[in-house]
């Protein structure tokens, strides 16, 4: 850990070896380890406190097929931890005027109306222009769980960042591992790559291009997520719950043995009858054996799929 002083109030903060963006414990300023401050720094409010998040989780689990009915009564919470994870959001307005060699073709050896057996491709100079807008979001910390990397956080209610607010909930504010300059360059590169793929729909080889890539908006956002660890009948489970909306991002949950046994038995019944039909009647009534026997095997597969449920899922997309 290295000690770095806040460029705004001078208070010391500790930075890990890969931390580039820190939030001052005293004056809430967000700053880089090089000493630059980040002006547009927001957070999403945690509308759901720990107990609300657990309640949302239980309500969601109750809806899952085969979930333990007794779960709400015997659930033991090991820990609830609120994490504020950092993301960069960058908007880019990009345009390009390009020239290059595009493809054309001569056709020969006619084989019907407007149909040819032979083709000879050749290049010729072409030019054009493209204008595009790119809204891009990048995770800013290596500590962000994989399940959050492509998650759409609703940014309707974003506020200016407040250290005291985040601390009041006992939330951990994760520092960023990527600063504004690095991320802006990454976003520009991404925009340029997308422009290139658009240019390449018209030309095969670019001979000159004049790009204009402007960053129209940049903000740094901390999004709150509850990480819940719980136990049921001494087995451990975990869940991530969006602290702004209460949505279950991903969770594991116990599936009742009774459900597995019942559904497994139904699956086995279908497999036995289906296989018997196939074996006994395939030679005599093949159409009957194939359709009814095959169908019962398919039905058995559906029940088996449910019986082997991993007890893992996420709340449906908005």
């Amino acid at each position: 850990m290295t000690q770095i002083n806040c460029p705004s109030c001078g208070a010391p903060s500790e930075a890990g070896p890969e931390d580039l963006l820190l939030v001052c414990d005293h004056c809430k300023t967000c700053f880089t380890t090089a000493g630059a401050t980040v002006k547009e720094h927001y957070l999403l409010p945690a509308h759901y406190v720990s107990s609300d998040a657990v309640e949302r989780l239980i309500l969601w689990i109750k809806k899952q097929v085969g979930a333990e009915e007794d779960l709400p009564l015997h659930l033991q919470i090991d820990s609830t931890q609120l994490g504020y994870y950092p993301f960069w959001h960058i908007e880019i307005q990009a345009s390009t005027a390009y020239a290059g060699l595009g493809m054309e073709a001569r056709y020969f050896d006619s084989d019907g109306a407007n149909e040819f057996k032979g083709i000879q491709e050749y290049t010729q100079p072409k030019q054009g222009s493209i204008e595009r807008h790119f809204p891009l979001t990048f995770p800013a910390s290596k500590q962000i769980p994989a399940q959050l990397l492509n998650y759409s956080f609703p940014t309707q209610s974003k506020k200016y960042f407040s250290q005291s607010y985040a601390k009041d909930y006992g939330g951990q504010i994760y520092p960023g591992n990527a600063d504004e300059v690095t991320i802006t360059n990454m976003a520009k590169q991404e925009a340029q790559n997308q422009l290139t793929s658009l240019i390449l729909t018209n030309v095969r080889e670019v001979t000159s291009r004049n790009d204009s890539i402007d960053v129209t908006s940049v903000y740094y956002l901390h999004a709150p997520v509850w990480s819940v660890r719980y136990r049921f009948q001494s087995k451990a489970y975990q869940a991530l719950v969006d602290a702004t909306t209460g949505r279950v991002i991903q969770a594991t949950y116990p599936v009742s043995l009774e459900y597995r046994a019942q559904t497994g038995a139904i699956a086995a019944g279908h497999f036995v009858v289906g296989a018997a039909l196939l074996l006994l009647f395939l030679g005599v009534f093949p159409s009957f054996a194939l359709t009814l026997g095959g169908g019962l095997l398919a039905f058995g597969a559906v029940f088996l799929f449910r019986a082997l449920s991993l007890g893992r899922g996420k709340e449906a997309e908005e």
């Binding site: 979001t137 609703p154 309707q156 095959g294």
Partner: protein, 327 residues
Amino acid sequence: MSQDTLLAGRTTQCPQCGASIEITPDAIIFVCQYCGWAGSPDGLEAKGYSMLPPLPRTQIEEKATQFLKSKLHESFVQSSITEAKYIAIPFWRIMVWAHTRFNGYATRTKTQTYYVGKQAMTRSYTVYVPTQGEWTDQIEFKTVARKNAVFFGLDEITAMIGRSEAVPLDPKVLIAQKMQVLDIEISVEEADDSARNHAEDQHLHRAQSQTSKLYDCHTDTRIASGSLTLYPVYNLGYEFEGRTYRMALDGATGEVVKAELPMTRGLRLTYAAVGYIALGAFTLAAFILSLSAQTQSIAPFAAVGSILAAIPLYFATASQRTKRKKA
């Protein structure tokens, strides 16, 4: 001190009534929740916007209850609605004229019959079909005038934009229904850019779908018209047999646009019955078919029939179902 007062939101003063209003950091147009003034944080009044008049909350909840009575059980009561949020969501609807010229080729596989001695043989070969064209059409682009907006029923509500006739914006009507009016964060210029990009992408895909190889594709766009409409959306949560579900209603018509529905025991049995009856029907059809066809030709029919019949069974064993209003 409450949690929310610790948060520094962006505030502005209503130029009409002087109230201090909290707006989002990206807001370019807001509606004063006290007097209904609508305009920019600089004090410039918004003009030319429209809205869909919202139905009263009680009427919408009544429609939601009727819907759930018909889908679940006659005994469903309005008090099972556990939470409700009435929101006016701003949407841009942009009409773009797009003209595209493209050039490339498509390929076709042809077969040719030839004879080796007296034996007929076939061979297949590829022919190139020069394909070029141009077309002009008007494309409708609809988007929420908010950055990174996600809410339950978004796609279904977006499909409703432009279907009913809007009236000039009168924010007082929205405030009277205690609606949350979302600030507008996307300017008309940004919406126009997105609409142009959308039209270009749509035409490029169309040209690509008509060719095996595309040599070039140029699209010129022109904005024909643009309008901003505040659309009323009623989001609610309800409880049924100890479980909670979500629902979104069109606040202008009271229609359910998207609803999570529980799988009741009766429905599970119905789905399962459909699966078994379908399997029986496929078996009978295969048997009839077998009277006039070879066993080998029945095998694919049997395989497809088995899988199709298993689909209702998959739904019969699912956690819940989602009903969406068809576009």
